[in-house]
């Protein structure tokens, strides 16, 4: 089983990289781009783990290490 964790900065936390991307896109003529938020995706290969246990285990990984909940939000997607 695979899990895909998406991590992004919380609303209200300044995201200079997102701002730079938005600016660059405007520079290229993509005028309809509004706010851009940058984040990261972490793909995990999970070994022997049941589909029912997986969500809580990955959630633990996120709160303990993968995301810093002071500044970041995360979401988890389980893939087959």
């Amino acid at each position: 089983m695979k899990a895909r964790v998406t991590i992004s900065l919380k609303n209200g936390v300044l995201d200079p990289q997102g701002k730079a991307i938005s600016h660059a896109l405007h520079g290229l003529g993509f005028d309809n781009v509004g706010e851009v938020r940058q984040g990261k995706i972490i793909e995990l290969e999970l070994g022997d783990i049941s589909a029912s246990d997986a969500p809580s285990v990955v959630d633990k990984m996120c709160t303990q290490l993968l995301a810093n909940t002071v500044i970041e939000n995360y979401s988890v997607e389980l893939l087959d």
Binding site: K19, A20, H23, G27
Partner: protein
């Protein structure tokens, strides 16, 4: 097995005659892996086939030289059982294609060259050349290269203490990224690359091998065309954290006596490291490809041998030490694999899945490497431009401001503030002066380090330019109070198959040779980067010189900043007033013309020795060499650094614009207390050194009597803002 066609040979960058030579060495057709190995070993990058003939003419010896060119880096004795190990190397093509990773891995490579020899790196420098400031790619390239150099060096915890940066249209399509590292080792603990001891294990350590950078070495030896951006996948990705681990693990292993030989895997990876170790030791090597730690599945022997994955080393260990050595690498969580052994066959034999996949004779492959005497024509030196040939502008104050805020002279602070230049706690002269100075940890000694080259001078007159580049590094070291020891050279040129380019190369080497001999300042390491051309247009010849000097007592050091008000300002050296190739001519007249200033090496040595002795005797409070932009720029830089102005008046028959902006060589500005000025003037007379009292420090402006008066504030404004303004995307902070 694929048949070797003409096309495949050409793709590997081998000429028909070179392929004929392959056939005669082997007595058969090579297979694909063998062809790949020949191709990288005989590439310009690894074989120096176009440059060797001329490099051999450079002086490489002095009583303090422990190891000259030919090893991973040069080694000089700095006393007390210590040695400085240093080298500069280019990473031009990769940095143009992917500026961040190209520059970062350039730094990684040169660091490995230095710590392979047993030194802990203590400083990084870099010499950068970009296209015109307003070229559409320049901003992107500057920003990526600077971030890449910083990203790697900062993480490693090695201070990047300075360097130089030029902007010129000749680099629009070929930027130059030359990185230099200086390290310190014990003279008794220097490691070389010659493999020895039949049956000794050959060990691979560091990161795993992937498909990165296959054919980087051949790419570095080919001209660019419009498709170059397609070559992106060949650029390697650096992992400075892995390199930091590798550095610490290697130094820990080097403290034992387990290592027979060690060589980093740089360009051409496992191929060139194993061949060089075997060739230098006059032995054979057998490698089992299956044992190489690999990052990807299904790699072929061709890919493994040519991969340029970073942060890897190859070593020959003493028998019986494998287990203890392995423990050290496990502690640092790095791969450690015994992948072969030293043999007496004189052959490189590679096996995979129990079968021989390549079998090549070591010595013939190395000895028969092509060496060319390429046709060349001497560059015709242009006529000098006298001060009287250039009508002065009305407002020389404005001219000074224009020059202080020009691409040539403006502050590089925006660049070096992105480099951690203080980590390791020994940087006693930060970037922005004539040379950076770094203490040897735990001692009162220090090394002064600088890189210099004026490509406009080299283009106009390669011989004079080559001489000037060496002399300027010598002068910059001298201005800090250091005794110049030796240089490393990074020779960046266009296509050597064109006689005029080859002529530039030959000219620069000749000038460098003369300067090195006259100044007792040999070449101990270096690198050649040719084919820096796009669509037939070559870069300005750029022999970047990195020099190091020794300061035996760190309080005997001078800096460029004016120290206090009311000190006497003195000018060392004569001024002819010629303006050929000067920044004044370029920025004010818009011309890059005429002969560069003449370098008189006897005068250079005489004046420099006087300045150094004066610094050592404690009479000098500030010192700055006069180079780009002339006297007015040198005074301005001293005023800016000390935030103190000066009032000067120069006795001369020359017109004011020549006094202010001529770039005559072998000159310095020094300051001293009012009481010591007379003593210095007397000493100078004894040594036959022209020394003139030109004024006094003080107030908040630079005033040159009857010529100009500019406030430090105005000067700082133009000087500080040019580069940040260039790099700021309009409308976006």
């Amino acid at each position: 097995m694929t048949e070797i066609t003409k096309e495949i040979v050409a793709e590997h960058g081998l000429s028909e005659s070179e392929y004929e030579r392959v056939l005669s060495i082997l007595g058969r057709e090579p297979n694909r892996t063998e062809l790949g190995i020949f191709s990288v070993m005989w590439s310009e990058h690894c074989s120096y086939k176009s440059s060797k003939k001329w490099l051999k003419t450079l002086p490489t010896e002095a009583p303090w030289v422990i190891c000259g060119p030919g090893e991973n880096a040069g080694v000089v004795d700095i006393g007390d059982g210590q040695a400085a190990i240093f080298k500069m190397e280019s990473h031009n093509h990769p940095s143009f294609i992917e500026p961040y990773q190209g520059a970062a891995t350039g730094v990684g490579g040169i660091l490995r060259d230095v710590f392979t020899m047993g030194a802990r790196p203590i400083a990084n420098m870099n010499a950068l050349r970009f296209g015109q400031p307003d070229h559409p790619k320049t901003r992107h390239l500057v920003s990526g290269v600077v971030a890449g150099i910083g990203g790697y060096g900062n993480c490693m915890g090695i201070p990047t203490v300075g360097g130089e940066t030029n902007f010129h249209s000749s680099y629009d399509g070929n930027i130059l990224v030359n990185a230099m590292t200086v390290g310190v080792a014990e003279t008794e603990k220097i490691f070389y690359s010659a493999a020895a001891g039949i049956g000794n294990p050959v060990v691979y350590v560091g990161s795993k091998t992937g498909r990165d950078g296959i054919h980087g070495a051949t790419m570095a030896s080919a001209e660019f065309d419009d498709d170059s951006e397609e070559k992106r996948p060949t650029v390697q990705v650096g992992d400075p954290f892995a390199e930091k681990l590798l550095l610490e693990a290697c130094l820990e292993l080097m403290a034992t006596d387990y290592i027979v030989a060690i060589q980093d895997m740089g360009a051409a990876g496992l191929t060139s490291s194993s061949f060089e170790m075997a060739d230098k030791g006059g032995v054979g090597i057998r490698l089992d490809i299956d044992k190489v730690p690999m990052r990807e599945e299904g790699m072929t022997p061709y890919e493994v041998m040519l991969s340029e994955s970073q942060e890897r080393m190859l070593m020959v260990l003493k028998p019986g030490s494998e287990e203890a050595a392995q423990k050290i690498f496990e502690k640092w969580e790095l791969d450690f694999a015994i992948i072969g052994e030293v043999t007496d066959t004189g052959k490189m034999i590679l096996t995979m899945h129990g079968e021989i996949v390549a079998e090549l004779p070591v010595a013939p492959l190395a000895d028969a490497a092509p060496e060319y005497d390429r046709p060349w024509v001497k560059t015709v030196a242009p006529a000098p431009i006298k001060a009287s040939d250039v009508s002065p502008v009305k407002d020389l104050g404005n001219a000074l401001l224009t020059i202080m805020g020009s691409s040539e002279v403006a502050s590089r602070k925006w660049i070096w503030e992105q480099y951690d230049h203080m980590v390791m706690g020994d940087t006693i002269q930060r970037p922005g002066g004539d040379a950076a100075v770094v203490r040897i940890h735990g001692t009162d000694k220090a090394l002064a380090i600088t890189t210099d080259c004026n490509p406009r001078y080299c283009y106009a007159d390669p011989e004079m330019g080559g001489k000037q580049a060496v002399a300027e590094t010598w002068r910059n070291l001298t201005a800090t109070g250091a005794k110049p020891l030796a240089i490393t050279d990074c020779m960046n040129f266009g296509n050597p198959e064109r006689p005029e380019i080859m002529g530039q190369f030959v000219g620069c080497i000749e000038g460098m040779r003369e300067a090195c001999i006259a100044l007792d300042y040999p070449v101990v390491s270096g690198n050649v980067s040719l084919y820096n051309e796009t669509k037939g247009v070559g870069i300005h010849p750029t022999p970047a010189i990195g020099g190091i000097g020794l300061i035996s007592q760190s309080d005997h050091m001078a800096t460029i900043a004016f120290k206090s008000e009311g000190e006497t300002v003195l000018l060392v050296g004569d001024t002819s007033g010629d303006l050929g190739q000067s920044i004044y001519l370029k920025e004010i007249e818009g011309r890059e013309e005429g002969a560069p200033p003449v370098v008189n090496l006897d005068v250079e040595k005489r004046n420099g020795d006087f300045v150094r002795d004066s610094i050592h005797s404690g009479l000098v409070t500030a010192c700055h060499d006069i180079s780009d932009g002339g006297l007015a720029v040198a005074l301005s830089e001293m005023a800016l650094a000390g935030n103190i102005g000066a009032n000067v008046s120069i006795q001369s028959d020359l017109p004011s614009h020549a006094i202010c902006f001529a770039e005559d060589q072998a000159r310095y500005v020094i300051t001293t207390t009012a009481t010591n000025a007379e003593k210095l003037l007397q000493n100078a007379q004894k040594c036959n050194v022209p020394l003139q009292n030109i004024g006094t420090t003080g107030h908040n402006e630079l005033k040159i009597e009857n010529t100009l008066a500019i406030s430090i504030k105005d000067m700082r404004h133009v000087h500080a803002n040019w580069l940040p303004d260039l790099m700021t995307v309009p409308g976006h902070e």
